[in-house]
Symmetry: none
Subunit: 207 residues, 4 copies
DNA sequence: TATGAATGAGTCTTCATTCAT
DNA sequence: GATGAATGAAGACTCATTCAT
């Protein structure tokens, strides 16, 4: 492999390594994934991998950081900037399939569920920085809609879970069962149905 | 350890080992779990464990078989025997918290998500015997309710996913985040809300 | 298994166990042979085996003692009692195929060659009690034939090796290659040739 | 240990490992030999051994290949290129002691006899590539000598066995009893006697 | 920086031996 | 005496990590 001399070249190599790491962790799980395979997948040697990450665990932590955070912004954006509840739900269910099918988030989710029990600090941090933030954004969106008289709900925190559940679970489904060779779930229709139901269930009819 | 001479005593020991195995697989994941720890947890020696299961993988497979199947009957029971859709939903959301809090299903789910990628045959079998059966039971219940004019829905297969999503995801949540020391999610209220929403969203008003 | 109460019954069981042991040691070698398999082959339990032999090594030692010694008498008999060299050779080459094909000596020989390196005391004892005695008997026979003017030879000890070599090696061949599925070596013809050659080579023509 | 970077250095290390393996297999037998001891004997770590041979069995197979084949050429050379039967025998019995005392063939022979029962494929291959080839070379030599009218024999295949028996058995003797501290067998004299006897037994007197 | 050979701790699995029944 | 469940020491093999080149 050519040498990465500039900072940029090194950052790029880090990204490639993180991608390779996700692939292997997703495929085999943290414990069963081999550093050599990760390096290979990134066209690097084992030794070089250690120039970029000082241990397997450090690589795992960096992976979670790097992939989870970016996408969250877009969701918070949707939740906070939409003019109406209906609009927010519409945008959410349009955005969700992209997130599931085009990003690595589902794979990351699978990895975290499978392996984080062994890394309490990673788990807590993921919980704080990703999960709670996500639930919080949706809950906030729901609160504001309620305040605007658009919907009628109980605890917004619980409601947020009901709103997100089909989306999150579909992502996981995708990650776990995707390679099984059958007709994939029609996420667009599924989430469209979900949005409609939510709106019908908690939306207040305007005459 | 006292010796298990009768077939019954051996079956009991097998059950204890399966429990210990679930605990360790849940805590560490398949690859990182140690056979010695599983044996210890069951107050047995490493060697004795191999009298009951011929390999780590065989133990894993036996675990999934033994724990997943039984509970399913109760859900199929609820889905098929309830006189009305409303009744079925009510029973489902009352039963769900018990299943999540009192059984090992959530832990098993976490283990399967985390480790089955490495065992395609186990994954397929779990998919066929558990997941599809569960989705099928709910879809069937929905179909019949639609035929009875109680609800108005699109594809029952997709609707089944929407019905189950909060329950399944809550189970997973419990498994992944449970030991975090904070106020637990109020599953009874959450599922009650969910059932109400579903009924309001797809139920047909009778005058 | 029924209990062996009398001394005779116990001796018989010991013999059965020794036979089973030879089979397993021959098939797998000392280290790879399993006590459980030996016991099974004798229709006994592992535990019972230890009632008769206190360890694997003790079983091995007993095996060598029990099987090697008896047959030797017959050869010494032939060597010492034959009226003439020619007669002795004739008897030897008639007896040898039986010994190879009908006794367990070849198997024992294979076991000793393969495993005795680890048991110096067994090796030495086998060397002293069996090998040297056998070579000595033949050498003595040769010496006497020389003294009687029947043959003309150099060192009888070396000559004894030349006389025995084809027989011993054929035994080993049988043990090592016997299960290979092809036309077996015609031992009778082979040894007949051997005897003729020896007689022609060292016998003194009587006019 | 210094690192073997070049292909040559690696080949050399492989040779060293094969030597170490033969020593240990010879001493303890295949099953009882420890990979760690083999590695140690070669001044390498356990792990490094597996860089060169992927398993104990692979090491065993490589060992047999590497040591048995080369020496055979010389014997075939002797058998095929000698101008007369007498000359061939002379060369054979001069060469044989060297092969026994200076090469590792006797040790290899002992290992194969002791352990090949467990490796049928190795046994067959050894049989085909070494044993049969060797017997065939001698038989061919005998056939040609007979055709030239130098000797009078029955089946050359059987005669080949008689010719080789003392040599092979002496090799084995060396391997099995060599470390016993006594006057070694005088192989030169023994084989000289053997050659003389054979020539006298089957050679045709020319007037 | 990059490589991959070397290390050795760690884990699954086997099996001689013991001992409760 | 007989059984076979239980034990735990031992050994093959793996792989994260180091480091000479």
């Amino acid at each position: 492999m050519k040498r990465a001399r500039t900072e940029d070249a090194k950052d790029e190599r880090r990204q490639i390594l993180l991608g390779a790491a996700l692939d292997e962790f997703f495929l085999k799980g943290f414990a069963a994934a081999r550093m050599a395979d990760i390096a290979n997948r990134a066209n690097l040697s084992k030794g070089a991998l250690y120039l970029y990450f000082e241990s397997k665990e450090a690589l795992f932590e960096a992976l979670i950081q790097s992939l989870a955070v970016p996408r969250l912004d877009q969701i918070e954006q949707i939740a906070s900037s939409s003019p109406s509840f209906r609009e927010a739900m519409d945008r959410l269910v349009v955005f969700a399939p992209l997130m599931i099918r085009q990003t690595k988030l589902p794979r990351l989710m699978k990895v975290i569920i499978g392996d984080s029990q062994s890394f309490p600090n990673i788990l807590r941090q993921y919980r704080d920085q990703i999960v709670d933030r996500l639930l919080g954004a949706i809950a906030m969106m729901l609160s504001r809609a309620r305040d605007r008289g658009e919907i009628e709900i109980g605890d917004p925190g619980l409601m947020a879970r009901l709103v997100l559940a089909p989306i999150v679970l579909s992502g996981l489904w995708e990650a776990v069962f995707a390679n099984e060779d059958e007709t994939p779930v029609d996420l667009d229709t599924l989430f469209r149905m979900h949005a409609d139901h939510v709106i019908r269930a908690i939306g207040i009819e305007e005459n």
